[in-house]
């Protein structure tokens, strides 16, 4: 198995891990967002609670979620490690004195993927503490009523603001990450790249936007 280790620790192998785990997390985002749209299905939250119950107990979902936790961990740890070694290779971020004047061709998102990732991770930990931890371990305010927990959380102004900021970071991260994953897989071709980039743009805007409707909906609903 020596060649596998060699590959995974080579520069291109490390990139491939980032790419594949990133794309897997993209599929999770899409499923999570579409599933959560059940929040809007009815006013008493019956559909959403049923959906949450299904997700929590389906053996297939439970198995995949173990992979999900691992891939989130791998993507984050590997990303930070790559950032640190890249920094070492380049000799710091502001290595050119004259660069204050220079216009930069590369997008701000692409240059700050690690920091955006850390923001997303911090947001994710908060998000999991609010719902996942309560539903699984410490207990919900009302037994079996995740919908009530969600509506309770999103009545607080700071929670809504933090969620919108987290989703903004996610959008910026996806804006570079989605198409970048395809480039890393070697899928850069005149016929397809424009399509990949267009899908990436739509994905990076629509998925976070879909999520953003949820805190906004509950916040406004409470105000009315």
């Amino acid at each position: 198995m020596n060649w596998v280790v060699k590959f995974l620790t080579s520069s291109l192998g490390k990139k491939l891990i980032m790419s594949l785990t990133g794309l897997f997390l993209c599929t999770f985002l899409l499923v999570h967002m579409i599933g959560n749209l059940a929040l809007f299905a009815d006013a008493d939250g019956h559909s959403f609670n049923e959906y949450a119950e299904f997700m929590a107990h389906n053996p297939l979902i439970k198995t995949v979620s173990l992979g999900l936790y691992f891939f989130i961990f791998l993507h984050a740890v590997q990303g930070i490690a790559i950032w640190a070694s890249n920094r070492n290779s380049a000799g710091g971020s502001s290595r050119y004195k004259g660069s204050e004047k220079a216009k930069t061709e590369a997008s701000a998102a692409s240059r700050n993927m690690m920091w955006l990732g850390v923001l997303i991770l911090a947001f994710l930990l908060l998000h999991m503490a609010q719902f996942w931890l309560k539903a699984k371990f410490t207990g919900l305010t009302r037994e079996g009523d995740l919908y009530y927990e969600v509506s309770l959380a999103f009545q607080q102004e700071w929670v809504v603001i933090v969620y919108l900021l987290g989703l903004f970071a996610l959008s910026a991260h996806l804006l570079h990450g989605f198409q970048s994953a395809f480039q890393t897989l070697g899928l850069n071709h005149k016929k397809y790249t424009s399509v990949v980039k267009a899908i990436g743009l739509a994905f990076a805007i629509l998925v976070p936007l879909g999520f953003a409707t949820m805190p906004i909906f509950f916040y406004i609903k409470e105000m009315l």
């Binding site: 080579s10 050119y96 004259g98 220079a102 061709e105 070697g186």
Partner: protein, 257 residues
């Protein structure tokens, strides 16, 4: 003062040797707008010589944009502000009277400073030595057109072969990654039938050597292709990724070291 002369303030990186700490020195130079950037530095060095001061060390050779010897980061950009040109092709008419210009060496761990603006780019030579060649039997001169190559294939190979190995990609990359350079060489040779034979071993060896030199990893930012004087595309990096994945999973070959 003639209308085609400009007075400039140059902030130049001065460093005696790799081991010693460097710092910026400020110089006043009057340059003709028809001069190239390197000729302007020649004027500065004549000035310094006449003052019995140590001239600024910088690399140059052909001075027509094909050898890859000149380098420099000018106002934060490798080869200066113009698109698709090397420092020797940069003319002083792109600067204004009274401008302040920052002149720095390429900065990367794999390109240590030798003196002033000169960096050691021998890491690139070692990447080439690890596989950036085709093996040819010695003997009589081969017939020029013995191997038919489609025009489109030849053009693609040539576009990648246009890389002059100057290292601007490494200097521009926030990660100091050498993947644009390495991928240009990999693509150039893998595209042509003469290089196809050794393609798998080549990509394994060159990537392994590149990793060993301490360059960073590519994060598909695209700063390299924006600064490349030969406008090499990052499509080449995608091709290198494909070639590498295919060589690792589709063959029994291993990198030579």
């Amino acid at each position: 003062m003639a209308h085609d002369e400009i007075r400039l303030t140059l902030n130049v990186w001065r460093q005696k040797s790799a081991g010693q700490a460097g710092k910026f020195e400020s110089y006043q130079v009057t340059a003709n707008t028809h001069m190239s950037f390197l000729e302007m530095l020649d004027v500065l060095n004549e000035q310094l010589n006449s003052q019995k001061k140590d001239p600024v060390a910088f690399e140059h050779d052909c001075r027509e944009g094909i050898c890859g010897a000149c380098s420099l980061v000018i106002n934060g950009r490798p080869h200066g502000p113009m698109q698709g040109t090397t420092t020797c092709q940069l003319h002083m008419r792109h600067f204004d009277d009274g401008d302040t210009i920052w002149i720095e060496p390429y900065r990367a761990k794999a390109f240590p400073v030798v003196k002033d603006l000169v960096v050691d780019r021998s890491a690139f030579d070692r990447i080439i030595q690890s596989g950036g060649y085709v093996s040819v039997n010695t003997g009589g001169t081969p017939d020029g057109n013995a191997i038919p190559i489609e025009q489109e294939v030849a053009a693609k190979g040539f576009n990648a072969a246009a890389c002059i190995g100057c290292g601007a990609c490494v200097a521009a990359c926030p990660n100091a990654s050498a993947m644009l350079f390495t991928s240009a060489k990999v693509t150039h040779l893998a595209t042509m039938p003469q290089g196809h034979v050794e393609a798998q071993q080549r990509v394994l060896n060159m990537v392994s050597q590149m990793d060993g030199e301490g360059f960073g990893l590519c994060s598909n930012i695209g700063a390299c292709e924006a600064e490349c004087p030969k406008e090499i595309s990052i499509e080449n990096i995608a091709q290198m990724n494909r070639e590498y994945i295919a060589a690792v999973f589709g063959s029994n070959r291993q990198a030579a070291k």
